[in-house]
Structures are given as structure tokens and as C-alpha cells.
């Protein structure tokens, strides 16, 4: 029975079908500043409006245990805000869009923010296959959330596309004194699974823009296909970018 369902899902979902409108933008601007401009012009809540023509639409999914800061990371990126105070728990999957500019072309990121609780697992699995990129978060102040990363990666391997872009993020990097997971631990795990890694902070904005921009860049370069095997490498890019000191361009 379950097999049949799997097949059904597979048949129904659109494979990573990149929208094919190619409309090179005239005036180029550096990606990061473009994003910043964008984020100020986007109203706080603008659900799926008929979007201006985008060159590319990518589906990005946020995963990780409950309470690691998935929604906070996303809201920081989309609206430049930090949701402090009350813990707002996601129920099911929340959808938000954001258009970013990468090398003069517009990339629409359709971001699926999932609930971390175990009871939603079977529901969210169904959507893994549609995702082009997965941001897998843990909380550097919560050892369990880090220990569960292996299980998450196992699920990803089982349900997601083989070529999905995966990025491991250690969130809440600002919480210096409460930290229980060292940066090296995260790096080692990422190396083991051959995925990109960064520490982020939704509170200070550390590496938040970079995360999403790196994903957009990677997906765009894959789509244009000009770099097949010697492709734009998200891991190298992340390493390069995050090594630029303590990353002033990333802070909004």
C-alpha cells in the first residue's frame, strides 16, 4: 500500500522543473545589496501575489527539531525582524516567498517552513521530494537537536531528491555562554555527510542572508548547467564568504 502511495506522490509532484523564462535584467547590482533593497520594499505579509516575472523559482525547505529557530531564521531573512519573546510554534507547513537577485537575474525562493515536532514528520515527508534545497538547522545551545541531525539526514536521504542542496546550520550562535555544541563539531559532521555548514544567528542576523543567497546561487548555477561537474560549489562559496572576517556584509 505504502509503495503505491510513494509512486503516486512521485507521479504527481513536479520534478525540479525550472521555470524557463529567461529575461536578463539590465542593471546588475551586487547580490547582497540587492537583497537588502528587496527586503525593505517587501511588505511584511505578502502571500503569493502574482509575482513579477522571475527567471527561476526554487523551493527551499527548512528542517530541524522543534524550537531550533527555523521560523525565526526565515523571518529574519524575509522581513529583517527578530521574533523575540513568545515561542510561536509552526503548525504543519508555512509558506513564504521572497525574490532575490543573483547576478542580474531574479530568483524566487519559495520557502517552506516546517513544524519540527515529530507528529508532523509523516506529513512533511511528502514534500521533501519537491524541494530543491534543504536547510537543516540545529540549536548550538541544545545538544539533542544536534544529535538528531543524523536522523534528519537519514530521512532526507530517504525522501528527498538525490541532488538536493543541503546546508547544515548551527543556529543561535549568538548565545555564547549557553553554547554546548562547538563549531568544530558542526563542521566535522558536515564534512562527514559532505554538506555545506555555517553557524547562524537569527537574532543578530549572522550569516542569514548568506545562507539563502548561497542556496539561490547554487540553484541558479545548476539550472544554467554551464558548470556541470565543476559546478559552482556551495561549500566552497560558503567557506569563502564566511571567512571574510566576521562577515560585515552579511549583517543587515
Amino acid at each position: 500500500m505504502a509503495d503505491v502511495q510513494q509512486h503516486q506522490v512521485r507521479r504527481v509532484v513536479t520534478r525540479p522543473s525550472w521555470s524557463t523564462q529567461q529575461q536578463p535584467q539590465a542593471n546588475g547590482s551586487p547580490a547582497v545589496s540587492a537583497v537588502r533593497r528587496d527586503s525593505t520594499s517587501t511588505p511584511v505579509r505578502q502571500p503569493l501575489r502574482p509575482v513579477e516575472t522571475c527567471d527561476l523559482t526554487c523551493k527551499v525547505m527548512l528542517l530541524g527539531d522543534s524550537g531550533v529557530g527555523k521560523t525565526c531564521l526565515l523571518v529574519r531573512f524575509r522581513d529583517g525582524l527578530f521574533l523575540s519573546g513568545n515561542f510561536i510554534s509552526t503548525v504543519g507547513i508555512d509558506f513564504r516567498n521572497k525574490v532575490v537577485t543573483v547576478d542580474q537575474s531574479k530568483v524566487k525562493l519559495q520557502i517552506w517552513d516546517t513544524a519540527g515536532q515529530e507528529r508532523f514528520r509523516s506529513v512533511t515527508h511528502a514534500y521533501y521530494r519537491d524541494a530543491h534545497a534543504l536547510l537543516l538547522l540545529y540549536d548550538v545551545t541544545n545538544k539533542t537537536s544536534f544529535d538528531n541531525i543524523r536522523a534528519w539526514l537519514g530521512e532526507i536521504r530517504e525522501y528527498a531528491q538525490d541532488d538536493v542542496v543541503i546546508m547544515l546550520l548551527g543556529n543561535k550562535a549568538d548565545c555564547g555562554s549557553e553554547r554546548v555544541v562547538r563549531k568544530e563539531d558542526g563542521e566535522r559532521l558536515a564534512r562527514e555527510y559532505n554538506v555545506a555548514f555555517m553557524e547562524t544567528s537569527a537574532k543578530t542576523g549572522l550569516n542569514v542572508e548568506l545562507t539563502f543567497m548561497a542556496v539561490a546561487r547554487e540553484l541558479k548555477s545548476r539550472k544554467s548547467g554551464n558548470s556541470d561537474e565543476s559546478k559552482f560549489n556551495v561549500q566552497d562559496y560558503v567557506r569563502e564568504q564566511s571567512q571574510r572576517g566576521s562577515c560585515p556584509p552579511c549583517n543587515t
Binding site: Q5, T90, G92
Partner: protein, 539 residues
């Protein structure tokens, strides 16, 4: 009170009911979108039929798969996938473990213990001797049949293991004699038990609520759990592992249960088994309904479209043949109320409606209409792949409603102070609840002094609960009851068409009360098309 005399001047016939036309039922309608079984009759049935029977019945008549079958040749029940999806449940292995565990069901040796988060700092012995904890008016505990703590309304359930142990012992002690424990009465306290298959729910209450009302509340709590997990998942989990720590799967849902329990202490809707509608002029409500019908009419598999604001229903559109039970609607209200995240983004959420089909999930597109109109729209479907279709439909609905000035009309009604009892023109009447039985809708005016403070409004609800209990007592149901109490006079009247519960000034006589009832019914009749939804639109 001054006006009391006035009313008495009017002579009344002795026979109260003869004054009113027999068929007079304000708010009545030939069609209803809600299932209208009286929740108390149903409750009795539910108490009698065992969980296993229910399961059998449900598995053969799954509403969701019925809908799906109409459109697909092969339908896979929603949950079959989670069998595989759920990492926890790898069949062979688990069966083995389960068989081992069933022999030593009380020893906990599973990883679920890691999920237990120690909260609070009191050592175990002191915890339940804590006066603050003991002073609580109503405790609610949930445990598994194996005695594992699942939920405690107050305090961390981990620190209450001993109490949970006692509860489980009581339940199984009575069970050994092929009997079921229902309640224990000790002084002012009632200990009420509800056993639902693998789950035991216990309410320890010092309120005036009756046992059946407490059981109803526990049933709601159980339904809330089913709404989050589905009954099939619940059964399967415990079949595979009697010793399972359900808190793993309920993580994040405690919030829903907490909220539901508080909600039931304020809202008469649960007691009445009915839903309140947002007052709107009929033309506005119709145009909202038509907008939803027209926009979503072509979307296959859409079962319900529900628009609500401030715990009140604006409209409900349903698939032909299918109805929604008020109890399911209450759970939806509870979900919307307790989930802040819906306000910030469009959500795609699995929702099981236990009365509709407890065995599977519906998928809900949940969103607020717009920043400037805080009404929440839920589009419930059996199809998990239509998020974007529904998202588009929602945009269209909002645009059309905006063009038709319906958003303004909703805002206006939400922000307008509700009618008060004094506006009805019966000065000695302080408050009332009116339920139309044929549509399962009710209406009540705003709470005015002295009931505007929490303490008094809770006391008022308590009075209504007591009145309701007297009228619906299974052993001796009443049609009409007039009570002169210390601080108010209460009148309750149950007919085949409606239920009416009124709070008067304390010294109101039976005659003037009956007079007031007539005036009130005429007023409701006059306002019925604003206060109630009188049709039952379908897609």
C-alpha cells in the same frame, strides 16, 4: 428591578407555553450545515459503545476515503503512509519489543524518557503537596492504559508519576471485575474518569459542574488528541508498543489542550453543543458565501470552506452530502485561537476532525484574509497536493471580497460592540443563551456588569451549567425550570425547537419571567437573519 412591577401588571395565563405559537422557533431552518445531534444524547451513546466498536465502525466507513474514492480509482487511506514514514514504527522490530514489553508493561525502558523535560524545581514528594497546586479548581490528567503520564494541566507530569500510578491502579482495579470506574465523590471534589481505548483521562474538579459535563470536557480533550494524531495512529501505536510515551508525538500539542481547557471554562458553546455566528446583514453574508462557492466550486476534493472571526462563524460552505459536527468546529476554533503562526504566513496543516472521520487527516489551507481583516479562512480538503490551488483561490476570494466591501463589513461587525441584553427591551433580563436545535447555532448577548469581570462571568457560566444539568438530567429531564437563587433568578426552557437559558434580576417572579421570554423570542425572531446562518450552502 424597578420595572418589575410593570411586567407583573400584564396579566398572564397560567399555561406559559400556550402563549407562543407551537412552531415558533427563532433561527430555525430547514437545512443545516451542522450535524445537529444533541451532544448529550450522543454522549450517552459514546459512553456505552466501547472504543473497539467505534474503531470497527470507523474503519469500514472512513469518510475521507469515501470522498477520495469518488475521484480516484485506487485510494490509499491517509495513514498507510505514516506507517512507513514513521521512523518509530518499524514493524518487525517493534512487534518483538512490544511482546517483550507487554509482559513488563510498567517498567519503562524506552528512549521516550529522554523527551521528558524536567520542569520546575520541587522534588517529587513535595510537588503534589504544594498548596498552590492543590488549590487548583480543576485538574486534568491524561495517562496511557499502561500508566504512563501523558499530560497534566498543572505541573510537570513527570513529577506526578505516583499520582498517575494511583489513577491507573483505580482504573484497573475496577476493570478486573469487568466494570468501569466513572467517578469518585469526596466532599466537594469529583474525580471523573473517561477511558478511551489506550488512553485514560481524569478530571479532578471542585467546580459545580456535573459528572456528565466533566465527561463531556474529557471527551473534548480526547478528541483534541485524536485531531492531532488520528485515532488510527493512536490505536496502532499502542498496539505496537503498550509502553509508548505519547508525549513524543504530542509535543507541541499540550498548548492546544491547555487552551481548550481554558476555552471550555469561558465558552457556553461547548455546553450547548452549538456554534455562534458573527452577526452580519444577510446580503453581506450571502455575498461572502457566494464568493467562496464561486471561487472554490471547481476545486475537486474540497470538503469544507470555513470563515471565522473572534470565535464566531462567518460562513461555512460544505461538500454536498457532508456535514460538520459542532464539536469538530469547536476544535477548529481552538486550533485557530491557539496558533499564532497562522497570522504570519499561509499554512498547510493536517487536521483530523474526529466526528467527521477520526481515522484520517484532512489537509487545511489556513490563512487570515489580510492584514486589515482578521478573519481566518480554512479550506479543508482530502487532497494533499493542492496547496497552491487553494492558495490561489484564497487570493481570489480576498480580492473579490475587497471589491465587494465585504472585508469592511466583517471588520465592522467584529469591532462593533455586541448587542447587550438591555437592547432587547426586557429590563429585568441580564443575560441569556438561546440555542436553535435544528441548526445547532446559538446566540448570547455581551456580558454586562456584574458579569463583565472574569470571576463573575465564570460564576455565570457555572449557573448555566447547573441549570443545563437539571434540565438534561438523564434520570429526570425537565422542560421548564424557574430558579430563584441568591443573586439572580434563572429560567431554563427546553422545547423540541430550541433551548433557552435566561438570567434575570433576583426577585423576578415566574410570571414576569415568562412574559420576558415571549418578548425575547419575538426579538430573536426579528433579528434571526442577522444572528444565525439560515441556509446551508454547498460547493
Amino acid at each position: 428591578m424597578a420595572s418589575k412591577g410593570l411586567c407583573q401588571e400584564r396579566n398572564n395565563t397560567e399555561n406559559e407555553e400556550s402563549e407562543i405559537v407551537p412552531d415558533f422557533e427563532p433561527g430555525a431552518s430547514l437545512e443545516s450545515m451542522l450535524v445537529t445531534t444533541d451532544s448529550f444524547e450522543e454522549l450517552e451513546q459514546e459512553m456505552d459503545s466501547s472504543f473497539d466498536e467505534r474503531q470497527m465502525k470507523e474503519s469500514t466507513t472512513s469518510t475521507i476515503s469515501e470522498i477520495q474514492e469518488e475521484l480516484h480509482d485506487t485510494t490509499i487511506p491517509e495513514d498507510s503512509s505514516s506507517d512507513q514514514d514513521d521512523k518509530l514504527i518499524e514493524n518487525d522490530e517493534v512487534e518483538e519489543v512490544a511482546s517483550q514489553l507487554s509482559e513488563t508493561s510498567l517498567t519503562s525502558n524506552e528512549e521516550g524518557n529522554t523527551a521528558a523535560t524536567p520542569v520546575g524545581s520541587l522534588p517529587e514528594e513535595e510537588y503534589w503537596q504544594n498548596p498552590e497546586w492543590k488549590e487548583r479548581k480543576k485538574h486534568v490528567f491524561i495517562l496511557s492504559a499502561a500508566g504512563k503520564p501523558i499530560y497534566s494541566r498543572y505541573g510537570s507530569e513527570d513529577k506526578l508519576v505516583t499520582i498517575f500510578g494511583v489513577m491507573q491502579a483505580l482504573v484497573s482495579f475496577v476493570q478486573t471485575n469487568q466494570d468501569t470506574i466513572r467517578s469518585i465523590h469526596a466532599g466537594n471534589s469529583k474525580f471523573v474518569f473517561l477511558i478511551k481505548g489506550p488512553i485514560i483521562l481524569v478530571s479532578v474538579s471542585r467546580t459545580t459542574e456535573s459528572v456528565s459535563q466533566l465527561v463531556l470536557q474529557l471527551t473534548y480533550v480526547y478528541n483534541q488528541i485524536v485531531s492531532v494524531l488520528t485515532s488510527s495512529q493512536l490505536t496502532r501505536i499502542y498496539e505496537q508498543r503498550r509502553n509508548y510515551d505519547l508525549r513524543r508525538l504530542l509535543a507541541g500539542a499540550e498548548r492546544l489542550i491547555d487552551h481548550l481547557l481554558n476555552f471550555m471554562e469561558r465558552e457556553p458553546a461547548f455546553l450547548l453543543g452549538a456554534v455562534k455566528c458573527l452577526p452580519l446583514t444577510p446580503s453581506v453574508r450571502d455575498s461572502i458565501t457566494q464568493t467562496i462557492v464561486q471561487t472554490c466550486g471547481k476545486i475537486k476534493n474540497l470538503v469544507f470552506g470555513i470563515l471565522l472571526a473572534k470565535n464566531q462563524l462567518i460562513t461555512l460552505v460544505r461538500m454536498k452530502k457532508y456535514f460538520i459536527h459542532p464539536a469538530d468546529l469547536h476544535l477548529i476554533f481552538n486550533l485557530v485561537n491557539s496558533s499564532e503562526s497562522f497570522k504570519a504566513a499561509e499554512s498547510w496543516t493536517p487536521i483530523c476532525l474526529p466526528k467527521f472521520d477520526s481515522s484520517g487527516f484532512l489537509h487545511g489551507h489556513v490563512s487570515y484574509l489580510s492584514d486589515d481583516c482578521q478573519a481566518c479562512l480554512l479550506l479543508l480538503t482530502v487532497d494533499r497536493d493542492v496547496f497552491f490551488t487553494l492558495s490561489e483561490a484564497k487570493q481570489k476570494i480576498v480580492e473579490k471580497l475587497r471589491r465587494g466591501n465585504c472585508l469592511e463589513a466583517i471588520n465592522e461587525s467584529v469591532n462593533r460592540a455586541s448587542y447587550t441584553a438591555s437592547q432587547v427591551g426586557v429590563p429585568e433580563m441580564r443575560h441569556f443563551l438561546y440555542k436553535c436545535r435544528s441548526t445547532a447555532q446559538f446566540w448570547s448577548p455581551a456580558l454586562e456588569p456584574p458579569y463583565h469581570v472574569t470571576e463573575e462571568s465564570e460564576r455565570l457560566l457555572g449557573l448555566y451549567q447547573a441549570l443545563h444539568h437539571r434540565l438534561h438530567a438523564a434520570s429526570r429531564p425537565l422542560k421548564l425550570l424557574h430558579q430563584q437563587l441568591e443573586k439572580e433568578t434563572m429560567l431554563g426552557w427546553v422545547t423540541s425547537g430550541f433551548e433557552l437559558y435566561i438570567t434575570f434580576e433576583p426577585l423576578v417572579t415566574k410570571h414576569s419571567a415568562i412574559n420576558a421570554v415571549n418578548k425575547l423570542l419575538r426579538w430573536i425572531k426579528k433579528e434571526e437573519d442577522r444572528l444565525f446562518i439560515l441556509n446551508a450552502p454547498t460547493f
